[in-house]
């Protein structure tokens, strides 16, 4: 009897592990499932982000500079870009409204670019003058190709004071 008690006391004296075997295995399992879930979520996200897109090219040629008279705003319907020629030079302004992505229209009689959806108004240089649009229309990079044509890159947004002198 006394021996047994002593034995129990000894086992109590040894510091018991904080976790039972069951708790340990449960935590390992939950952890492993969490890692696997995170990995699965990452793989799924990658799967849903296409690597190759069959969308129209974002770089295009806008023809010979002589096509555009000085002090003119020309809307290129297919590219949704305005080619503006001022005495200082050329710049390319996006035709997509910065509010919700509608296609704006050039109103020569009022000398403004207007959005038909929610009434935003812009100057020919893209500056916002009215409406819900949060930002001015961005300017795209414009330059001359080797054979003397204008080329616009819609992925490259440049500062509004940069113009192409021809």
């Amino acid at each position: 009897m006394s021996d047994r008690n002593q034995g129990e006391n000894e086992s109590h004296a040894i510091e018991r592990p904080q976790l039972s075997r069951r708790d340990f295995l449960n935590e390992i399992t939950v952890g492993a499932l969490g890692v696997a879930g995170l990995g699965g979520a990452t793989l799924t996200y990658q799967y849903f982000s296409p690597n190759v897109l069959f969308e129209p090219s974002t770089t295009f040629r806008a023809g010979n500079p002589d096509l555009y008279p000085v002090n003119s705003v020309t809307f290129l319907q297919d590219q949704q870009v305005y080619i503006v020629r001022m005495p200082a030079g050329f710049y390319a302004v996006s035709g997509v409204c910065t509010h919700l992505g509608c296609i704006t229209q050039w109103k020569p009689e009022a000398n403004i670019i207007a959005c038909p959806c929610h009434g935003s108004k812009f100057l020919p240089n893209g500056k916002k003058i009215e409406g819900p649009a949060p930002r001015p229309l961005p300017h795209y990079a414009i330059n001359l190709t080797a054979d003397g044509e204008l080329q616009v890159d819609k992925l490259q947004v440049i500062k509004t004071d940069q113009v192409l002198k021809v």
């Binding site: 849903f48 296409p50 897109l53 069959f54 969308e55 129209p56 919700l100 992505g101 509608c102």
Partner: protein
């Protein structure tokens, strides 16, 4: 005539096949009637007994049941439309036109699906307002209220994803505007829009994604939540009826 029919029914009920399907006897007592409900997959989530009060039209105007009916109509007409619809640009637009002008009764099915969808949004909102003004969100109905909100969102998402499928100007610009709203989210907005559309513009990838969401993922989720919703109505003691005095009790 009636006696022959009754006799035929009696004969049918005594066959071995009938008895193997419906194991209880004829529903003559409350006990066998209850068993009939408990033992049937399609009935077991309905209450065995309902108060007469909750069957009155004014109790809820059957708004929930009508929403379910519309969901079933939309599933049936939607599946039928799928037989003629290719989710590819520009085929989708031509298929929609064919359904309207070439396919027999296609215009009927398409309009049923379209009008049904509009009506469902209307009814689901009406149902929500009705439940809200009856205090149907109070205990013990809080959980089911939240399930109802999920169903409202699923209805709206179904409506929105279906909006793109005709692939006309209205569809294109509605989704262009809608997904630009997504991109207004801070930090992750543009990424979420890119994944939702499968690209930078509303194109073929977007059409296919919206199609899969519209015909598989969202209907399955709606089906699941509708099941939970109806089940909880029963478990929480039936629909909220009665005057202001005993609101919350029933």
């Amino acid at each position: 005539m009636a006696t022959t029919f009754d006799a035929a029914l009696q004969n049918l009920r005594s066959t071995r096949v009938w008895k193997s399907i419906f194991r209880r006897g004829p529903a003559l007592t409350n006990r066998t009637r209850s068993l009939a409900v408990f033992g049937n997959l399609f009935l077991h989530w309905l209450p065995v007994k309902v108060r007469e009060k909750s069957l009155r039209i004014r109790a809820a105007y059957y708004l929930g049941s009508l929403s379910l009916l519309l969901f079933i109509i939309l599933v049936v007409t939607g599946v039928l439309l799928m037989f003629y619809y290719h989710p590819a640009a520009p085929k989708a637009y031509h298929d929609m036109k064919d359904l309207r002008f070439v396919v027999s009764n296609g215009v009927f099915l398409r309009n049923m699906h379209r009008v049904g969808a509009h009506l469902m949004v209307l009814l689901v909102f009406w149902h929500m307002f009705h439940v809200f003004y009856r205090g149907g969100y109070k205990p013990p109905h809080e959980f089911n209220w939240v399930v109802g909100i999920v169903l409202l969102l699923l209805t709206l998402f179904l409506s929105y994803t279906g909006y793109l499928l005709p692939w006309d100007q209205l569809a294109f610009w509605a989704v262009t505007v809608g997904t630009n709203i997504i991109s207004a989210m801070p930090v992750i907005g543009n990424k979420v829009r890119f994944v939702a559309l499968g690209g930078n513009i509303v194109g073929e990838n977007a059409l296919l994604r919206f199609y899969v969401l519209h015909v598989v993922i969202l209907p399955l989720l709606a089906f699941l939540f509708i099941g939970v919703h109806f089940w909880r109505v029963q478990k929480d003691g039936g629909i909220t009826v009665g005057s202001k005095k005993d609101a919350g009790k029933s």
